[in-house]
């Protein structure tokens, strides 16, 4: 039975037709405020500094001001580095200041009010949005001169599109669902063997049976797995002359529900004197010669826990694919989103209601399939100073999983004090020594 909250939420669906129509129109309404994209020319004044909320890794390049004390200081932040360390070494030339930030594009919210004060350029790469922010000297402006895609993602998409259109034009009986799925999966495996895709694409609900003779094929589930772009920019003084130029290389590897984004600044130079547009273009062209090698050398090892969990999920999906299961991954029953779990539990549903497989995944991308689960062990808390409960209370302190490969992993509760003096708890996986697991 619905509670009061649910009743109120559901009431919105029962509103009058004209109100629902108004709601739908509002849903489609464009933003009123102008937003700059990579396709537009962007002017950025030196007075605008961004303190955009960082949802991913941020690398800043310090602005060399040895010869020009009027140039502003940079924001020196200690951050994790997704790209090669060479990018952070002291550059041989003076760099116009360009900051690259990786945000999530799964929502429209860029997440920071201060972005409204500044015009920045955003590049969308599937689930991620990459912001390029320029900090120039007074009177200078930054312009994006080019943004182009390097890899052949369209070719992969077109092949899948062609196959799907062929399937849709077929006459088939109600039992053709399995045949259709096998055809699609065979094509996916062919693409994998040819190296055109690197990972299994999201396979669940590939085909939904609508009637005895009709099927809905979810075309939007098939996407390329690797994207790479190059974004070029110039810096102009107040006279419109080019005083700096550079190029940024972006690459995104598809995960299950996000991207792994890596970036590298191919080059960024402040010229000793203004140069022509042609000379700036020649400088940028020279930077591009290295782009393919830079992309090939990018390190896509997981650097965040989320990336590790997503990599593990892909491995698990591949495994289940091999057994012909229909994959509907149910991410993580009681460990998703909360930061104090240092592992996650993933459930894969099969076709039948009782077909389920459970896996444990770790932030480094490793994983194991669970064969036995002890459940939680509860212990009464004897710590008089405990801040996690009031009066007499219990903590779930342990849980043990036996994996199909023979390993045993236990979950242990740990309490620690952070830098603010606040007590926090976390649940960490601990592997039993191999002798005990055997």
């Amino acid at each position: 039975m619905k509670n009061n909250r649910d009743k109120l939420h559901s009431a919105f669906d029962e509103l009058r037709g004209d109100t629902l129509r108004e709601a739908a129109a509002a849903l489609e309404a464009p933003v009123v405020q102008k937003r700059n994209t990579f396709r537009r020319w962007v002017g950025v004044t030196a007075a605008c500094l961004s303190a955009v909320m960082v949802l991913g890794a941020v690398v800043t390049i310090p602005l060399l001001s040895a010869d020009d004390p009027s140039l502003p200081d940079t924001n020196q932040m200690a951050v994790s580095v997704p790209s090669t360390d060479a990018t952070l070494e002291a550059p041989e030339e003076n760099y116009p200041f360009v900051r690259v930030q990786v945000l999530s594009a799964t929502t429209d919210d860029n997440g920071d009010k201060e972005q409204e004060k500044e015009e920045s350029v955003s590049v969308d790469m599937e689930y991620s949005r990459i912001m390029l922010t320029f900090n120039c000297a007074e009177g200078e402006t930054a312009e994006i001169t080019s943004h182009r895609t390097l890899n052949s993602k369209n070719a992969v998409s077109k092949r899948m599109e062609t196959l799907l259109l062929q399937i849709e034009s077929m006459e088939f009986s109600g039992n053709a669902l399995k045949i259709l799925e096998r055809m699609l999966y065979r094509e996916i495996r062919t693409l994998e063997r040819n190296g055109e895709i690197e990972t299994v694409l999201e396979p669940f609900r590939v085909i939904t049976q609508i009637s005895d003779r009709s099927f809905l094929v979810h075309k939007n589930l098939f996407r390329p797995t690797f994207l790479s772009d190059v974004v070029d920019f110039v810096i102009r003084n107040e006279n419109g002359e080019v005083v700096g130029a550079g190029s940024v290389c972006l690459a995104a590897k598809m995960l299950y529900s996000s991207n792994m984004v890596r970036y590298e600044i191919l080059g960024s130079k402040r010229f000793d004197a203004p140069v022509s547009d042609e000379d700036a273009a020649a400088y940028i062209d020279g930077l591009h010669e290295n782009a393919e090698a830079v992309i090939a050398g990018m390190d896509f090892s997981p650097v965040t826990a989320e990336e590790g969990y997503e990599l593990a999920k892909i491995d698990i999906i591949k495994l289940c694919y091999g057994n012909g299961e229909v994959i509907v991954p149910v991410d993580s029953l009681w460990t998703n989103s909360a930061s104090f779990w240092e592992f996650r539990i993933l459930k894969i549903r099969g076709r039948a209601q009782d077909e389920e497989r459970f896996f444990i995944t770790f932030p480094d991308g490793t994983w194991g399939e669970i064969s036995e689960d002890s459940g939680w062990i509860y212990e009464e808390c004897t710590d008089e100073k405990c801040t996690f409960g009031e009066g007499t209370h219990e903590h779930h302190t342990g849980r043990t999983f036996l994996l199909t490969d023979g390993r045993t992993v236990s979950v242990e509760r740990q309490v620690y004090v952070d830098e603010n003096g606040q007590s926090l708890e976390k649940y960490v996986p601990v592997f039993a020594p191999e002798a005990e697991s055997a």
């Binding site: 009061n4 739908a24 309404a29 799964t106 809905l216 939007n220 529900s257 104090f340």
Partner: protein, 193 residues
Amino acid sequence: MPYSNEEALLDISIRNQLLHRNEAALSLVQAHWGKLLQGLAYRITGSLADAEECVNDALMDLWQHPPTDPDLPVLAYISTLVRRRALDKLRYRRAQRRAQDALVCPLDELDECLSDPEGQGEADASAIRDALQAFLDDLDEGNRKIFLLRYYAVMSNRDVALRCGIGERAVEMRLNRMRKRLRSVLHEHGIYL
């Protein structure tokens, strides 16, 4: 509400194809509004996988129960289907969740309009709907748009502000006043939830 020729033609095309059991109608819906619908589901559920599942299920619902009201645009109809599926998914997840609930949904703000959100009051669904409709009818167009974007489309305050051309703080203040007003309207209709 103005409806462009292009939108009207699309609507007619989809309805005709549904009527003649041509599944290309679903492909059309997906192509034109798939991203928008998935965004709506994602804002409610907070999970991309759940959002995709909700949109898929809503397409199935659309196929099995095509819209019959000629004055209700297909987008409005399927938005309702997606929203309903997403709310069901959200309730299911919350019931299943054992760890601390870190999910904060804009819909949680509506708890301020209720005395006992978890309780099961006697008011029936039609009475609540009528009260909500009366509250919305009383609002001017601008405020109604803000309220629907926040609690129907489940958008962030920032996105609401961007679509209405006002500041985020102004959105927060208006929503705060409107929630208090909604609570009063519910009481005026004898609904104590």
